[in-house]
Amino acid sequence: MGGWAIAVHGGAGVDPNLPAERQEEAKRVLSRCLHLGIAALRGGAAAVDVVEMVVRGLETDPVFNSGRGSALTRRGTVEMEASIMDGRGRRCGAVSGLSTVKNPISLARLVMDKSPHSYLAFDGAEEFAREQGVEVIDNSYFITEENVGMLKLAKEANSILFDYRVPVPGVETCSASAGSMVDNPLQMNGLPISIYAPETVGCVVVDSGGWCAAATSTGGLMNKMIGRIGDSPLIGSGTYACDLCAVSCTGEGEAIIRSTLARDVAAVMEYKGLGLQEAVDYIIKNRLDEGQAGLIAVSRNGEVAYGFNTTGMFRACATEDGFMDVGIWE
């Protein structure tokens, strides 16, 4: 026990029919980013620096839903969000509504380190980005052709399935349907799995000093309303780190928020004395009800764990004693 550990994820809720070459490509990116983190940890880097660096790598690669390759709003634009938490002192930083910042996770870090606040959003966040001199680029950079196509399919499917909602004319809300359009009846967030963009990327790390940190970044939900904020920037929901552990979640944002998923993993460890894997399993089993999500976690003891109740989660993990795993399915 002890030593460093790292886990990364590229989103939960994967199409079982995803072509083999797409699966390999995703695993390659995960592995590459994992190794970036491993090299830094071997060099004695601090957890909070490692998670930022690894998530930057994931944001820059268009394969996953964050930074370049983010899911599109209903208007076809990109609104990115991210958060980072340093278990050492439980400092945190978060951003939402970014449209030109190349690496949202780094802006979240700057909110934590260089502003008097914990969370900045939309115009205010964009302005802060310029004051800080971070790299900005036209919104079109983040939009991939593939996601433009996905947005079109999502609009055609046009079903966000929440059966407790009352349909209001003029607002695209609930009610069934899309099943007939695709062969696969599996759904995430009301979209057929074949056109769902698994939300989010994340990284959790415990460094050689036993300090934990977590970082999460996303473009959010395909076809989301303008201004919609999901779980990724919300401390306690999509991201959490304390002196016991660090957690990053992915999946149906609304389900993750309602169950404050990331905080709950730490809470059952802290208040019920569960071990890391026990805590992860307990939370995935008991806290999600109808919601679908996955998460990765590390503990200060150098353990790594993950869990999901979705069809698959893109993930990779490694520990100092040589364990390594890159996977998608159970």
Partner: protein, 328 residues
């Protein structure tokens, strides 16, 4: 078991020397809002309706930092946020960055009930408000002379400290209260439970004086400033950053659920584990207990239970409004 309700108008460095002309209207408002909430509970309105109703009243009152009377951003504008959560279903709704919506808490409820999402902010939230036809007004409606003055004082106090365009770690500005009289920290909130143990929480705020444009605090972050499940309902107030990192509202419920603490124990534990001067909260449990702990100098608060207990306060009192459960 019976119904209970608690509400707050913000925790902070409320000076004992608060002049009568500033104290009286706030106490009157607390009394009035409590009465409205109690009447609704007696009329068997669901707690979710009750907390929304009470917070609307608090938002409309210009003496508290929410809705009309919201504190100003560094640009002199108003950016309001709010959050509501239903304990039974754990459905929730949140909004941030509102500048024209008269009652942010009602928009938060509409996000919860009329969209597939939980949280809408800034332009998107304002657009949704118009789609829903909620009451909107010119942004000037919310700005009070008191708050223009507060902003001026804050800028003067912080002029040397806050210079975040020159990022040097030692000079990192802190979220502070200006310490000049009135509490700079504020928020309003309400929690309620009915006789069947249905719980709900609602919180609303203008945020922090002189905050950066786009700053989001703890209020709309589920688990930080607002939370409700089948154990309890919590609304917190104080220093946003502290409340977020300590996941205050969620932790009260988590301690009850995972460690078996009582409402009062859980709330006291959470408040005591945050540095002094940072936080206050109101909470009710499914059993009808109420607690209103704070570690600031004061917290504008009020509570009542079906058994006939009621309290309105600003500074610490001998009891903190808790009914011992005779069955324990």
């Amino acid at each position: 078991m019976g119904w209970s309700i608690a509400l707050h108008g913000g925790a902070g460095d409320i000076p004992y020397s608060l002049p009568p002309e500033r104290r009286a209207p706030r106490e009157a408002a607390l009394r009035q809002c409590l009465a409205i909430g109690v009447a609704a509970l007696k009329a068997s309105r669901p707690p979710l309706d009750v907390v929304e109703l009470v917070v609307r009243e608090l938002e409309n009152c210009p003496h508290f930092n929410a809705g009309k009377g919201s504190v100003l951003t560094t640009d002199g504008t108003v950016e309001m946020e709010a959050c509501i959560m239903d304990g039974n279903t754990q459905k929730c709704g949140a909004v941030s960055g509102l500048s024209t919506v008269v009652n942010a808490i009602s928009l938060a409820r509409l996000v919860m009930e009329k969209t597939p999402h939980i949280y809408l902010a800034f332009d998107g939230a304002e657009a949704f408000a118009r789609e829903q036809g909620v009451e909107t007004v010119d942004a000037n409606h919310f700005i009070t002379p008191e708050n223009v003055e507060r902003l001026k004082q804050a800028k003067e106090a912080n002029r040397v400290q806050i210079d975040y365009t020159q990022p040097v770690k030692e000079d990192k500005p802190q979220e502070t209260s200006s310490g000049k009289g009135d509490s700079q920290i504020g928020t309003v909130g309400c929690v309620a439970v009915d006789g069947s143990g249905n719980l709900a929480a609602a919180t609303s705020t203008g945020g922090l004086v002189n905050k950066m444009v786009g700053r989001i605090g703890d209020t709309p972050v589920i688990g930080a400033g607002t939370y409700a499940n089948s154990f309890c309902a919590v609304s917190a107030t104080g220093k946003g950053e502290s409340i977020i990192r300590a996941t205050i509202a969620r932790d009260v419920a988590a301690l009850m659920e995972y460690k078996g603490l009582s409402l009062r124990e859980a709330a006291a534990y959470v408040v005591n584990n945050v540095p002094r001067g940072n936080v206050g909260l109101v909470a009710v449990s499914a059993k009808g207990e109420v607690t209103m702990p704070f570690n600031t100098r004061g917290m504008f608060r009020a509570c009542a239970t079906e058994d006939g207990y009621s309290e309105i306060g600003i500074w610490p009192s001998e009891t903190d409004c808790v009914l011992p459960d005779p069955k324990r």
